[in-house]
Symmetry: C2
């Protein structure tokens, strides 16, 4: 598994250098010009080598509904999503493969899958995702999505009296599933980690959060949740706690340097201070925040406050892709319209750092991955700079981040293992995957969601639409 | 050149149908199931057929600086752009080829090139772009970018006394060049049209606008300009005219159903009424509006007011790509954050109509292209629905517009002529183009713009930064 990349372009502090890179036993052994070839020689000529990015928030099984979901805000969109959610382990398997492949071909070598669990088959769902990610070879962070309140509880009640059906599973039973999953599947050294992942304040009791904190502390697990994605959730937090969601999560001890929080669109200045102080990570999902009309997360403010920020694609039903380079581009340039002081705008080099080291930091492994550093794991991606979408030659990182790169990943390694070479994935059969995805689906243009019909009037009233 | 596409999926009013499509003498002859094969048979199985889109605003030679431009607002960015603009006809040729190819591979069959002219070689620049577009075979609308005031005049003066160098060419000389270009190159029936294209109120005198109106009327030419791209231009219009830019352009008679206006970020409600009443077209360039921090054009308001809206990539230095599907996606979902009434959000089918028929309308040829209609020119694109990025199968148009389609165009025809088949461009040598773009450029990471150094202090003062 040892190899040496010859004559590859890498970024230096504010320029580029052509170097050789030795990878030994899965780690970066040396970076320097004119190194001896250890193991296989890989030609890096006219290629750019970067650390792999982290797709820091997604829901893999949403791939089954991409392209078909109605144009709706989150709370109604979720109703439609769950009305048609796949309930089949084979589908879970295939969409995890698809998510991994699209992530890899857009520069990602790690994925955080906030995995929707099939009721009654929770452990089997997790096992299936683990199997898929191990087959592909991507570094997987599986965050089984849990809640202990029903979907309708996620919409503010306002002055109305809302009766919610009890959730299908008790808090204790849910925590038990997670603990079992940790015991069975949490193997960070083998590239699979389990996270505690209560979906968010909108659908979780304090008991569930506290149970997750306890598991996280006991097993040294990262924590992952949605946070203040929509204005409705901001309202709901006030209804539920009489304070902001961040203030509440802080009080119960959920925040910290192992906690990553997806979206964070509706935070107060005080909330931002809390996230900075607790060293929590914000996962920016620009595409879904636009698609669902959630808003623009104030990312420039977060960066200025010293909060660690990284990028996620979010599930493919609200994006509707898993192209990490797209999320990085839009998640960077989107904020230029929020601040006339252009010196605050995110530069392409900063975007890359957020996507790689920022992602690693959010998973508490910045000492292991996230940069081209001797001693770190070889999670590497090599981009073909002779591709039309990266021509003419200018600033390679500028082209990669601000352009629309297509077919540019020609090599990817995770832990030193080759996953993509010659622009082909070599761990799974991609044609077979496409055939399976094709066979198990059909073109359609119209669906009616019973849940949306049921909750829409209340939602419109509460949100004053 | 006659052909018949067999068993291809096309959109119907609100569903899909599998049909055959006959193309005879460059036009759509029949659309119906079970047609006889006229000419060559083309297999449309598992393919989606759509009318070609219009890349309704770009500047082809900006391709030479994509990826390298600093993160700056338009007025400063323009300074940097022109400091390093290519002044070589061969570069003009190659970037026009590249722009055409990227447009075609993202669904576009027409391009509006607001073409930057090399001083002293104006007609040669236009001739070169004409040659490139004819070689590729894309339908070309060449809008030679003209002005008669120097770059510094585009920034509001405020209370300062600004002395501007005179512009390098007189108004009369400029108009003469355009008239010669029209006589030499305006051949709509051969797929090349010349537009009158004063860059915008920020750099053009009334004499130039009026000269363009006169030419447009005399030769039946479309009109194309930038309009209110930035807040600075809004200020400048008040300084220059004591009214809004739209009001001024209306008074001098520039607006009308042959006029398309790029950007339109800073319009008043009254301005919107004027554009609706005059049947002017707005070209939405969402990527560059974000990249340059210009703002979000209020597209939902425009649509509600009945203004025709279509999409452009804008030049590749402010985008930094020419992927029309990306512009369509971002230009559609971006507006969901501007209106909580989600019933106003742009649906994927509406996006497609804007990109095809909307583009044709802005060029005053909606009777000739822009929809799958018998009798129209066969400007057609066929998408491979078995591509991973369009799987699993759901709503094909939703997948195409909201996803991140990659390598999905496998056939494109302009005027019934095959430009792309088997996912390969067959009118030019793509490898040779890539080699030329590679050879004539170099990787670089740092540049210093003398113009930015010169104007930045004044710009910051005026814009209160």
């Amino acid at each position: 598994m040892n190899f040496t990349i010859k004559n590859v372009l890498i970024p230096t502090h504010d320029d580029y250098a052509t170097v050789d890179v030795q990878v030994v036993d899965g780690k970066i052994g040396a970076i320097s010009p004119d190194l001896n070839v250890i193991g296989t020689a890989v030609d890096g000529n006219n290629q750019l080598l970067l650390p792999g990015f982290v797709n820091a928030h997604t829901h893999s099984s949403e791939m089954w509904q991409r392209g078909i979901m109605s144009m709706l805000p989150l709370e109604l969109w979720l109703g439609e999503l769950y009305d048609f959610a796949p309930l089949d382990l084979e589908q879970v398997y295939l969409s995890a493969l698809g998510t991994a492949v699209e992530t890899l071909f857009s520069g990602g070598t790690s994925v955080v899958d906030h995995l929707v669990l099939i009721p009654g088959q929770e452990l089997a769902t997790i096992a299936t995702a683990v199997r898929a990610y191990q087959e592909v070879g991507i570094r997987a962070f599986i965050a089984p999505l849990i809640q202990d309140e029903p979907l309708t509880a996620g919409i503010p009640a306002g002055n109305s009296l809302q009766n919610h059906e009890p959730y299908l599973r008790s808090t204790a039973a849910t925590l038990e599933i997670i603990e079992t999953a940790v015991q069975q599947f949490h193997r960070p050294e083998e590239g699979v980690s389990i996270l505690v992942a209560p979906t968010g304040i909108q659908l979780c009791s304090d008991a569930l959060f506290k149970g997750c904190i306890e598991l996280s502390d006991r097993y040294n697990l990262c924590r992952h949740s949605h946070l203040l994605e929509t204005k409705a959730q901001e309202k709901l937090a006030q209804e539920k706690y009489g304070c902001t969601a961040v203030e509440h999560l802080y009080r119960i001890g959920y925040l910290g340097d192992r906690t990553s929080l997806a979206h964070c669109v509706w935070l107060t200045d005080h909330d931002i201070k809390i996230l900075a102080q607790t060293q929590s990570t914000i996962v920016h999902n620009p595409l879904s925040n636009l698609r669902l009309g959630s808003g623009i997360a104030p990312i420039l403010k977060y960066i200025q406050a010293g909060v660690n920020v990284t990028f996620g694609c979010d599930g493919a039903s609200s994006n509707d892709s898993q192209d990490l380079l797209e999320a990085i581009k839009i998640g960077s340039i989107l904020h230029n319209i929020t601040d006339s002081e252009y010196q605050n705008w995110i530069t392409p080099r900063k975007s890359l750092e957020m996507a790689s080291l920022g992602g690693a930091t959010g998973l508490n492994i910045a000492d292991q991955i996230g940069s081209l550093s001797v001693g770190k794991q070889a999670d590497l991606v090599m981009y073909d700079l002779t591709n039309l979408s990266l021509l003419p030659r200018t600033d390679p990182i500028g082209l990669l981040v601000l352009g629309r790169p297509t077919n540019v990943v020609n090599n990817a390694w995770v832990n030193g293992k080759s996953i993509i070479s010659n622009s082909q994935i070599n761990t799974i059969n991609l044609d077979k995957l496409k055939q399976e995805l094709f066979n198990r689906s059909q073109w359609e243009s119209k669906r009616q969601s019973p849940t949306v019909a049921q909750i829409e009037t209340h939602y419109r009233q509460i949100m004053d639409i």
